[in-house]
Symmetry: C5
Subunit: 387 residues, 5 copies
Amino acid sequence: MAPNRLQLSKFRNFNPETDEEVDIEYSSPQPGAIPGTLDLEPDAPPPEIILIDYNEHNAERFTLNSPQECGAYLDTESVSWVDVLGLGNQETWRELGKIFELHPLIQEDVVNVPQRPKVEEYENQLVLIALMVILKPNHQGFHREQVSFVLGKNYLLTVQEEPEQDCFDSVRDRIRFNKGIIRKQGPDYLAYTLLDSIIDGYFPVLEAYGEQIEDLEDEVVTNPTPRTLDKIYRIKRQLLNLRRAIWPQRDAINSLIRDGNDLITHEVQIYLRDCYDHTVQVIDMVETYRELTSGLMDVYLSSISNRMNEIMKLLTVISSIFIPLTFIAGIYGMNFNTDKSRWNMPELNWDYGYLFCWGLMIVIAASLVFFFWKRGWFANFSTIRRK
Amino acid sequence: MAPNRLQLSKFRNFNPETDEEVDIEYSSPQPGAIPGTLDLEPDAPPPEIILIDYNEHNAERFTLNSPQECGAYLDTESVSWVDVLGLGNQETWRELGKIFELHPLIQEDVVNVPQRPKVEEYENQLVLIALMVILKPNHQGFHREQVSFVLGKNYLLTVQEEPEQDCFDSVRDRIRFNKGIIRKQGPDYLAYTLLDSIIDGYFPVLEAYGEQIEDLEDEVVTNPTPRTLDKIYRIKRQLLNLRRAIWPQRDAINSLIRDGNDLITHEVQIYLRDCYDHTVQVIDMVETYRELTSGLMDVYLSSISNRMNEIMKLLTVISSIFIPLTFIAGIYGMNFNTDKSRWNMPELNWDYGYLFCWGLMIVIAASLVFFFWKRGWFANFSTIRRK
Amino acid sequence: MAPNRLQLSKFRNFNPETDEEVDIEYSSPQPGAIPGTLDLEPDAPPPEIILIDYNEHNAERFTLNSPQECGAYLDTESVSWVDVLGLGNQETWRELGKIFELHPLIQEDVVNVPQRPKVEEYENQLVLIALMVILKPNHQGFHREQVSFVLGKNYLLTVQEEPEQDCFDSVRDRIRFNKGIIRKQGPDYLAYTLLDSIIDGYFPVLEAYGEQIEDLEDEVVTNPTPRTLDKIYRIKRQLLNLRRAIWPQRDAINSLIRDGNDLITHEVQIYLRDCYDHTVQVIDMVETYRELTSGLMDVYLSSISNRMNEIMKLLTVISSIFIPLTFIAGIYGMNFNTDKSRWNMPELNWDYGYLFCWGLMIVIAASLVFFFWKRGWFANFSTIRRK
Amino acid sequence: MAPNRLQLSKFRNFNPETDEEVDIEYSSPQPGAIPGTLDLEPDAPPPEIILIDYNEHNAERFTLNSPQECGAYLDTESVSWVDVLGLGNQETWRELGKIFELHPLIQEDVVNVPQRPKVEEYENQLVLIALMVILKPNHQGFHREQVSFVLGKNYLLTVQEEPEQDCFDSVRDRIRFNKGIIRKQGPDYLAYTLLDSIIDGYFPVLEAYGEQIEDLEDEVVTNPTPRTLDKIYRIKRQLLNLRRAIWPQRDAINSLIRDGNDLITHEVQIYLRDCYDHTVQVIDMVETYRELTSGLMDVYLSSISNRMNEIMKLLTVISSIFIPLTFIAGIYGMNFNTDKSRWNMPELNWDYGYLFCWGLMIVIAASLVFFFWKRGWFANFSTIRRK
Amino acid sequence: MAPNRLQLSKFRNFNPETDEEVDIEYSSPQPGAIPGTLDLEPDAPPPEIILIDYNEHNAERFTLNSPQECGAYLDTESVSWVDVLGLGNQETWRELGKIFELHPLIQEDVVNVPQRPKVEEYENQLVLIALMVILKPNHQGFHREQVSFVLGKNYLLTVQEEPEQDCFDSVRDRIRFNKGIIRKQGPDYLAYTLLDSIIDGYFPVLEAYGEQIEDLEDEVVTNPTPRTLDKIYRIKRQLLNLRRAIWPQRDAINSLIRDGNDLITHEVQIYLRDCYDHTVQVIDMVETYRELTSGLMDVYLSSISNRMNEIMKLLTVISSIFIPLTFIAGIYGMNFNTDKSRWNMPELNWDYGYLFCWGLMIVIAASLVFFFWKRGWFANFSTIRRK
C-alpha cells in the first residue's frame, strides 16, 4: 500500500476488527502480593531516561545513564523534567524510589500497568495516572499506553510504558525553542501541557470511529451481512473500553480543579479547566457514538427482518402464481374415461380445449400479478439487489 | 417549488435526511498545539464589526473598519455592543485581544468552533459560549453556528461564526426604537436578551422534528419501508446532537444563576431564571422526542413482523388450498390399468367420476376457506395494501 | 350511546387514540419578543372574574366587571380569592398587573400557556404554575389546562386557561358552608387546597390508563393486531406527556417544603407534605405504567413471532403431508411403456396396484400426522383462533 | 390437592397468574374532599382492639370494647401497645383521634389504604406507614395489607387493614414469655421489632418468585409457549409492584436513622440499621429478579425465533427433497408422442427406463439428505421435541 | 481429564452452566426471630481457631481448643489475629461473644451467612462483612464464602464460613517471615491486607468470565444454538450476582476512607485508597462484561434472524426454480385429445417437442439461477455451514 493512497482515504484502513490492542484488561494484582510489589520482568533492560532542565533563559537536554544522575538537577530552582521511557527493571526502581522518595504504592501504580486513571495526593507529591492513545501512522489501529506523572516542587517525573512513541514532541519543541509561555512557568504547567497533549490524542481516534460508524450506517440498510453485525459489536466493545479509560480521567482532572493543591498555581488551574472541557467533549463523543452503535444494532435487526420480508414476498409471488396453474394442469392430466360418459372431462375433446385451458391460466396469472403489483410488492424487489 | 406552497405545508419540506449540517463534531484541537493557538484560515477577510452604543437617551450604530476603533467607546458609561460577524483572521484577533484584554484561552474558545457551550469566569470578564440554531427560511433544514459572548463592565462583545444571518434583529430594533426596558439596563441585560433569542430559536426546530415524528408514526404502522427505518435512525442521531448542544447550555445558565457574578445584577438574574426555564423546556422536548424515536424503532420492528405474518398467511392460505387439490388431481392422473382389475381406479370409468372429483375438490376448498375465514385470516389482508 | 350504558362500563369509552388534547407542546416563545410579551388574541373577551372574600365569620362572593374592583378587598385582613376564568385580553392584564403589582415575567408565565409547572418567588409574591387534568364527564378523554397561582399577603389570585370547567367546586362549597378548617386559615391554606384538588384529579385519569393497559394485556397475547401496537404506542406517548407534566410539579412542591417561604405558615407546610405524597404516588403510577407499556411492546413482538410460528407450523404440516403424497401420485402418473419391458412400472398392472398405492399414501400420511402430534404441533393450533 | 403434596413441592403451587391481590393501586383521594376525610364504609363493624401493656416485670393483655378504655394505660410508665385490627368506622376514629390526639392527616393516612410507605414526624408522635406481605399458608399467593404505626412517648398504636392475620405472633410471644430484651425496652424497640417482622416477611415471598423464575428459565428454552410469555410478564408486573412497596420503606427507615428523633433511643437506632440492611437486601433481590425477568423476555423472543428456524428447516428439508423428485415424475408423465419421433421421450420405451428413473430420484434424494446432514440440520431437530 | 491438559487450556474448563454456587440468596431471616438469633446447626462441630500473635520482633502461631484461650493474648500490646475457620455452634459463640464483647447484631451478621457486605461501627469495634470468591484449582468454577472482620484495639477477629480454603496464605507467610511492613503495623493494616487479598481474588474469576464471553462472541456469530443462548443468560445472571457482591464492598471501603475511624491510622487509610481503586476496577470490569453480555443477547437474536434468512433463501431458490418447471411438465401431461383438433396440444406431435420442452425448462432454470446469483444469494450459503 503506497503512502499517498493512505493520504487520500485517511482513516479507511483503520480496522477495528483486527485491532485487539484496544482491550483494557486492568493489571490484575498477584493475589496475596505485598502492596507495592512491582510486576517487572527480571531481565528487562534499564529504561532510557531523558532529563530536560529549563528556566526562562536556558533549556538543556541530557540522556542519563542512571537515575542517580538526576540528583544534582532536582534541587535547583529550574524546572527538571525527568522522562523515563520504558518501565525498566527492579534496579531502576530502587534508585528512582530513593531519589524521588516515592511511596511504594506510587511505584506499584506506575509499574503495574494498566491502572485506572486517577489523581492521588501524597505529601509533597501529586501522582497522576493517564492513558495515552495514539493513532498509528498508517491509520491501521491505535497504540495505547499508560503515562504516569509525579509532580514535585521543582520537578516532573513522567514514566511511559513503552519507549517507542509518544505525543510529546511538540512540547519538547516548545521548551527547546521557547515557544509560548512554557519556559516562564513551573512544572505544573508542564504537566498540564503534557496531559492536554494526551487528551487531544483521543480526537483523531474518535474521528476514526465516527467514520467507521458512518460507513456502517449505509451498510446496515443496503447490505447487512453477519460481518456487519460483527463489526457493530466490536466497535461497541471498543467504545466501552475507551469510555472506561476516559471517564476516570475526567474525574481525576475535576478533582484537581475542585480541590486544588499547593503544587498547582491558580493560573495553571485556569488552563486545567480548558483541559477538562476537552475531556468532557471526548466523553460526549464517546457516549454519542455508543448510543449510535446501539441504534445501529436495532437497525440491523430491522433490516434483516425487512430482507426476510422481501425473500418471503418473492417466494409467495412465485408460489401463488404457479401453484394454481399447476393445479389446472393437473386437472386436465386426469384420466377419466371420456368414452364412458359425456360428463367425463368433455373439455378434452373440445376443439379449442387446449387454448381455453391456456387462456384460463393466463387470466389467473395476470390477475395475481395485477393483485401483487397493486400492493406494491414488485416495487421493493430492488432492495434485495446487492450493491 | 413556489413559496406559497411552502406557506401551506409549513415544515413538510424540512428534510432530516439530506441535512448533514446538524452533526456536531467538536473542533478537534491540533495535537500538541500551544494552548491559545487560533485555528484560522490565514487569508480570511477581516470580519464585519458593528458597534451599537446606547444609553437611556441615545443609541448609535457604527460599522467599524478595525477593532481599534472600539477603544473610544469602551471607556464611556454607555453600553457598547461590539458585534463581530465572522471569525476574521490573525490580525483581527491580535487587535481584539489587545483592546479587550482577552486571555489566550478565551480567544481559542471563540475562534476554534464549535466548542461545547459553557460559561467561564475570568477576571473582569464573563465568557459564554452558546450554539445558535436557525430554521432556514424555506424550512429545508436548519443552520447552526456558535455565538460567543464576552461580557465586561460596560460592554458586550459578541462573535458570530458566520456573518450571513442571526436571530438578533428584533433585539437591534428594540435598542433602536427604545422598546421595552433594554435601554435602561446594562450590558448584562443585553447578553440575557441575546441568549434568550438563541434559546427561543430552538423551538421552531424542535417543532419541525415533532411534525416529522408524527408523520413517521403513521408511516411506520401503515407502510414501513427501509426508508422509514433510515429516517427514524437519522432523526434519532440529530436529536442526540441537539441534546449534546442544549444540555451544556442549561448547565451554563444554571451555574450563572446559582453562583452569581459581579457583572450580573440581581434583576437580570430573575430574567435569567426565565431563560433557564425555556432551556429546560427545550430539553424536555428533546428527551421526549428521543424516547418517542426509540419507541418508533420498536414499533417498526413489530410492524415488519406483522407484515411478515400477513405475507405468510397469504402463502399458507394459497398453499393449503391448492396443495390438497393438486394431490387429488394427481391421484386421478395415475395410470393404473383399469382393464386388468376392477380394483384399479374404478372411479375413472364411473359415469359421474369427473363431476364427483370436482365436487370433492370444491368441498375441500370450501372447508379450508371456511376454516381460515373463521380464524379471521381474510379480515387482515387489507393491511397489506399500500396506501 | 345511552348514558346508562356509559355508567356500566365506566372507563371503557375512554379512547386514547383520538384524544390528541393530551399532547403538551410548550408555548413556544415568539423569537425575539420582548420578555414579558403576552401572546393574547387581540379581540378576546374580558375574562369572568369571581372574587370570594372570607374570614372565619363571613364569606361573600362577587362577580366583578373589571379587575379594578378588586382593589377595595385586597387591603382588608380577610382572605380574598380572585379567580380569573379565561386569559382575557391586553386590557385585562394591564389592569391586573397594576392592581396586583405583577412582574412582567409573572404575566408572561400566566398568559403564554402552557408553561412548565414551577414555583417562583418574587418580592411579596409566590407564583405557582400547575397543570390541571380533568377526566371528561363521559370518560371519552380528558381535558387539560394551566392554572396559575399568585399568592400574596392576604389574597390569592388564580388564573385558569379556560372558563368552562375546573375541579374547585368542592373548595368553593367548603368556603361557603364553612366545612373543615378552611375559613380559619389564610390564603396559603386556600392555595394548598386548590393544588391538592388538582393533584387528586390525576388519579381518575391514571386509573383510566390502568384499565386501558389491563385490556391491552389480554389483547396482546390473545389477538395482537397492528391496531394493538398503535394503541400501546399512543398510551406510551401520552404517559410520557403526563410525566412531563407531573415531575416538575413534584419539584415545585418539594422546593416549597424544603426552602420554606414567609407567605406559607408552618401548619400549611404539614399539609403540603401530604400533597407532596400524593404527587409522588402519581409519579409512581406513571412510571409503573410506563414500564408496563414498554413490557407490553416486548410482549407484542414475542406474540407476533409466536403467531408466525403457528402459521408456519400449519404450512409445514400441510406441505409435509401432501408433498410426499403428490410425489407418489406423480410416480404412478408416469408413462413408462409397460408393454416394452416387465421392469417398467409393473405396479400399474397389478390387481391391487391402486389399493396398494392408497395404502402406501395412508401409511405415510398417518406416520407424519403421528410425528407432528407427538411434537405437540396440533395442541397449539387453538391459539390461532380469534376470540 | 392433598396437603402433604403441598408439603413436598413447597412453593410450586404459588400461582402468580391468578393472584391479583398483589396489584397496588394507591388509594385515590376523593377529588375535592376535605383533607383528613376518612374513606370508611358507614356500616363497618368496630375493629377488634388488643391492648398489651408491659414493663420489665409484668405483661398484661386486654381486649378492649372501645378505644376509650385505652385512656387509663397511656399515662402510665409501662409500654402500651394498642393493636387495632381492622379499620373500623367513623365512630372508632372519632374516639381514637381524641384519645391519641391524632392530626387529621394521620387519620387519613392510616385509614385511606393503601398509602405509600413513609415516615412522618408530628409533634410528640412519629407516624410510620408500612406494607406487610404474607405468603399464604398453602403457598398459593400472598396477602398484602397496610400496617400503620403511631409511636408516642409510652405507647405504640398499630392499625392493621384486616383483622385476620399478621406476622406479629412471635413478637407477642416474646413479650408474653419475656424472651430477648423486648420487655426491658421502650415502645421504640417494639416498633422496630414489628417493622423488622414485616421486612422479614418479604423474604419468603421473594424466594417464591425466585423459584418461579428458575422454573421459567427452563421452560423458556425447552418449551416456550404463549403462556410462558404471559407468566414472565405477570411476574415482571408483580415485581414492579413489590418494588414500589419496598423502595419507600427503605427511604423511610433511612430518614429515621439519618435524622434521628427524640422518640427513638440511640440503642434502637443501631437495631434500625440492621432492619435497614434487610430492606436493602430485599431491594437487591427485587432488582436482580427484575433484571432476570427482562433477560427472560429477551431469551423468550430468541427461543421463539430458534423454534421458527427449526420449523423452517423441516419445511425446507421436505420441500427441497420432494419438489425435485416430483418434477422428475412430472417429466415422465408428459404425453409427447413417442410414435411420431424418436426424439420424443425415448426413455419411456427403454427396458430399464423406470428403474433408471427411480435410480435418478434416489441419487438426488440421497445427495440432498447428505447435504443437509453435513450442515447439521438433522442434529437439531431434537430440540423441537416437547419434553 | 489429565492435569497437564488443564494446564494448557487454563480457564477453558470453567463451566458457568453447572456452577450454581455463585447464586447469592441472602440469608433470609426467620420471620419473627429475636434480633441476634443465630441460625446454626445444633450439632455442628466447634470451629478450628488459629491465633497468630505478632509484633515487630516475634510472631507466634497457636491452634486453640476453645475461644476462651484467646483471653490472655488480647490484652497485650502485640497484634492478635484470631482466625475462626468455620461457623461452629452455639457454645462457640457464647464464648466468643463474651471474650470479644460482641453485640448480638454483630454475631447475627457474622453467623447468618450470607449477609450483604458492609461496614458497621460499634463502640471500640469496627465490623466488616466481605465476600470472598476463589477460583477452584482445576478452574471448574469458583467457591464463594463470607469472611467477617471484627477489628478491635489490639486484635483482629476474622470468621470464615468454611474451613477448607482461603486466600490468606501469603499474608500468613508475610507475618511468619517478616516480609514487607506488616509486622511493623497494627491490626488495621492486617485487616487491610486481608481485605486486599479478597478483592484481588475477584480478578482471576472475572478473567475466566472474560474468556467465556470471548468464546461466546465467536459462537454467537458462527454457530448460534439454543445452548449458546442459555450460556449467555447464565453468565448474565452470574455477573448480576457478582455485581451484587462487589458494589456494597465498594461502598463499605469508601465510607471507611471518607468517614475515618479511630481504629484506622492515617497511613493505613492511604493503603485503603489503593484497595478502593482495585474494587472500582473490579466494578468497571463487571459492568463492562454485563454490557457486553446484553450486547451478545442482541447479536444472538440478529444471528438467528440471519440464519433464518439463509434457510428461507434456500427454500425460495429451490421452490422458485422447480415450481415453474413442474408446471411445464404438468402442461404436457394434460390429456387434451390431439386427434379431435389441431389446436389441441400440437406440441405433443412435433418431432422435437420433447427436446423443445427440455430446452424451455433449461432456459427458465438458467435464468432463475442467474437472477439469484446476481443478487448474491449463493455467496452467503457458506454461512449456513456448521464450523
